[in-house]
Symmetry: C2
């Protein structure tokens, strides 16, 4: 390759750090982390989500108890301002990442549609 | 932003088209597509895979019949040279895409590990 594609990926990474979306996510995370009870709840929620998505990826059905526990935690999490704000910023960054990903994977999408 | 991050993503997309990995995938796809029976089998396999991963994402368990059908198709597909070659090239491109993705998502990974 004439240009090293990894250099461009690293450039994109640096630029991502400078976006409004990333900076706001970073600020929201720091604020959330500074509140111990919010941070503990957030970590618990993350762990449950990881466990359940792991099970789903393995093709295992979730038990009613697991679904209930995830819903209960989601309710709790939705009542903590610091986490609500963080999740809003996650959605903002995800939107940006999806847009970028859409662009980057275009060659492959086109190939498989053709 | 001083630099438009979308410009960089578009640059990455253009560079991706020029990589050995993408060009070889493209060539393998064209060869596979030119063989009608290989292409038909490939499309059938793709469709089944999409249906099953959709079910899994919905948290539904796969029936034994579905798992069997997917295995049978995978066996058939594994015996068609054009598709075997294509799949090898898919693995090559996936490796590259994963590497790039690892770089680009580093800021977010770091934030959530911190
Ligand atoms: Ca504590
Ligand atoms: Ca036919």
């Amino acid at each position: 390759m004439a240009v090293n594609i990894y250099d461009t990926a690293n450039q994109l990474e640096q630029e991502l750090r400078g976006t409004k979306e990333f900076k706001e996510l970073q600020a929201a995370y720091t604020t959330m982390q500074a509140n111990e009870s919010a941070f503990n709840l957030f970590k618990e929620f993350q762990e449950i989500q990881m466990q359940l998505s792991q099970k789903q990826m393995n093709g295992e059905e979730l038990t009613d108890e697991e679904v209930q526990k995830a819903h209960d935690l989601a309710d709790k999490v939705g009542n903590v301002d610091e986490i609500k704000t963080l999740m809003g910023k996650e959605r903002g960054l995800n939107q940006l990442m999806n847009d970028l990903n859409q662009i980057i994977t275009k060659p492959v999408q086109e190939l498989y549609q053709g």
